[in-house]
Symmetry: C2
Subunit: 148 residues, 2 copies
């Protein structure tokens, strides 16, 4: 990304990246856009009647917080983080790998779509299945994150 | 985009594209992400103290609605559209050109950044300057939109 200068002043440590509020705001946009397209693709491909579904979806904080826990990546979050903090950490990590050009929006969409499964039209099932997909996304991007 | 199939069932007319609710939801994500990065770049480059600013920003409906009017592109919106409808139309048009691969997120960020000017740290000025930037974005993408 030509925007990598936007993180020049960030120490390349787990906590500095995982707790940066500006990164979280940027990541919020990346995640919501990617999930919107992934959900549209997934629902369209699964449709029995070949119906095309275009949708937008804000990913709930609960989904992201649980994904961070399931991926065993809570060390990127601040100490005594609540669900909101944990979700912000996921957003910050995604923004970081995007800004350092290790993942594109298209790749993120593809990752989420690949890892979505089951029914996502009922809210309860969607939370479970989307959490699982985001857990796998986090595990996929972990190699591009700082190790200390 | 490999997601162009998501608009296969859409008539390629001004009104069909400009009033599609699913496209508007997708475009909402594209616009908010692009504006977040553009605003971060703009504020960072303008900073006297070489401060790096990372921010996220939901673009207000008012900005988008006025941009559509200023670009003389109200014919893409539904009849008797209110500000909310006009903003949705801008979002749908941006999603359309992105899905048909005529503009990338990076190009959109570059367009917005180029056309931002003046002070955008005060809310009042930001609305005026962002409206002007989005007006120019709309004029730039118009050649890729249906003509009838």
């Amino acid at each position: 990304m030509p925007y990598e200068f936007l993180i020049n002043n960030l120490p390349k440590t787990k906590k500095a990246i995982g707790t940066d509020k500006g990164l979280a705001k940027i990541g919020d946009g990346i995640i919501n856009l990617s999930y919107s397209i992934a959900k549209s693709i997934y629902l369209t491909k699964k449709s029995n009647s070949n119906q095309i579904i275009r949708t937008g979806q804000k990913v709930s904080k609960k989904i992201l917080a649980n994904a961070l826990k399931n991926a065993n990546m809570k060390e990127f979050a601040k100490n005594r983080a609540d669900a909101h903090d944990l979700a912000n950490t996921v957003e910050a990590l995604v923004a970081y790998v995007w800004l350092v050009n290790k993942i594109s929006i298209e790749e993120l969409i593809s990752l989420i779509t690949t890892h979505l499964s089951g029914n996502i039209t009922r809210r309860f099932d969607e939370i479970e299945n989307a959490t699982s997909a985001f857990t796998k996304v986090l595990i996929s991007i972990k190699p591009f994150l700082p190790t200390k």
